[in-house]
Amino acid sequence: MNSAQIIQYCLSGITVGSIYAIVAIGFNIIYNTTGIINFAQGEFLIVGAMMAVSLTKVVPLPVAIGLAVVITTVLGGLVEVVFIRRVRDASVLRLIVITIGVSILIREAMLHIWDEKVRSLPYFTGTDVSTISVMGAHISPQVLWVLGVSAVIVTGLTLFFRFTLIGRAMRACADDRMAARLCGINDRWMVTLSFMLSAGIGAIAGCVISPVTQTQYDMGAPLAIKGFTVAILGGLGNSIAAIAAGLILGLLEVLMMSQFQAAYKEAVSIVVLLLILVFRPSGLFARRDLSSLRAF
């Protein structure tokens, strides 16, 4: 393997890795405010991409993507208002089952609204054959889009949570729901907002990755598994670590693909998930004895 190939592999690993990281951040946003793992997280990406594909037939690409993101954001809010809000103090088992149900419903709805066909958005710049040369490696410009958008999302979220009033209120809710409520923060609205936010960034991620990986109604579940693997790898709730973990998983997948059959690519993340759950459920970067103090 020459250096150009290595760069090629690394870049494609980083590309998928950054998408996994964004799915993981979606998990984390909801987990932090509610303690719920939203099994429907992967569906948000697919809904966003599907919606954008359909809208490109009537409006230009940027508008289509913008609309798709807005609609998915609203959908995320609706999921919370309709399904999650009613079961405030439910057992973990009940919440798991409800979000699984939601993911099935969204997936089946997509199957009936669109169909089983594989679709994709057009490349944002250039076509599927245009390449940019980076240190001897040929990469698609869409890869740069994915990396750029991911970076923007992460930076935007960091600024949002650190400097805006709403972002701070959400962090307060994550820290101590009761105390936040006593300070006059509307915690219900914050939970709704967290669902909207993670649906929205999911939709953006779904759109930028669509030209590369293409989109099909049932691709949400595998994405969710990978996103969850990354979230656990980084330590549930820790979004900065999730980025590192996403890149690790992405690179690992590409490495495995270069060595073994592509058919087993899916198995890589599951094996990583099982290993991490068994050996370090608090994540690669966390201190074990501290996180064992958490409720679960």
Binding site: R287, D289, L290, L293
Partner: protein, 261 residues
């Protein structure tokens, strides 16, 4: 002094950077009531959890009946004869009071998965024994009229006693009581202290974490004082009451009298 029945040797436990239990060595004599006191956050409950096996120690040893039980799992420790109650009662709320106590018979009975699935005749006899023993304990503690009630429906004070009954059903030789008087009124506390004394007189050694000083001073034979994870005093109640360090942590510097006076 008698041979120690329960003994901890240089126990340590950390939570992150917090040294929750720091080099604690103490002993409990057989057939006595020993009280473990100290201000909030002194490490009393952590020490309890170390003895009961809920969390492993980061250093040191626990000996029970002359043999080490350090690092054993709670179920193994329960089978050896240490039973416990919890600071906030942990009953099986959807089960009846009788069933709660029947679970307590678990370490003294043996029918397993296969026998249970096949409903073998010898398990019937065991079941009858479990029920009879559990019922006898309930009667002894004056709870028999609640036997068929769901535990969640009992008033708080009764739930405490059910937890006692459940712990006694394991036939312990050492009973760990974590703040048994918390949330009880003075009449209930009075009843409770009589109950603890009765249990001790039947040969069950008791180790009690308690905030209620009158209860501690009335019933205990020995008192161990913890502060910030360390043992600062140990002895009979009379001595402890006059111990300057104890007075200081409970009442503040100004109340320490000149030991000569």
């Amino acid at each position: 002094m008698d041979e120690a029945f329960l003994e901890t040797k240089k126990l340590h436990r950390f939570f992150g950077g917090l040294h929750a239990v720091n080099d604690v060595s103490f002993a409990v004599r057989r057939d006595t009531i020993t009280a473990l006191i100290g201000p909030n956050g002194a490490g009393k409950t952590t020490l309890f959890n170390l003895i009961a096996g809920t969390i492993p120690p980061h250093g040191g040893e626990v000996h029970f009946g002359g043999r080490p039980i350090t690092g054993w799992k709670p179920h193994a420790i329960a089978s050896r004869g240490i039973a416990r109650t919890f600071q906030t009662t942990k009953l099986f709320l959807q089960m009846t009071v009788l069933e709660n106590v029947m679970v307590g018979r678990h370490p003294r009975t043996r029918s397993g998965f296969v026998a249970g699935m096949l409903n073998l005749p010898w398990t019937w006899r065991e079941h009858a024994e479990i029920e009879a023993k559990a019922m006898a304990i309930l009667e002894d503690l004056g709870l028999s009229q609640y036997a068929g009630q769901t535990a969640a429906n009992l008033p708080f004070g009764r739930q405490r006693v059910v937890e006692f009954a459940r712990a006694l059903a394991t036939e312990p030789t050492l009973l760990l009581l974590d703040e048994p008087a918390a949330g009880l009124n003075i009449y209930e506390t009075q009843e409770l202290s009589e109950l603890i004394l009765r249990i001790r007189d039947r040969g069950v050694t008791c180790l009690v974490v308690e905030h209620d000083m009158s209860l501690v001073m009335n019933i205990s034979d020995d008192v161990v004082v913890l502060d910030q994870g360390q043992k600062i005093a140990e002895g009979p109640p009379r001595t402890i009451q006059r111990h300057p360090d104890v007075i200081r942590i409970y009442l503040g510097e100004n109340h320490v009298e000149d030991p000569q006076s």
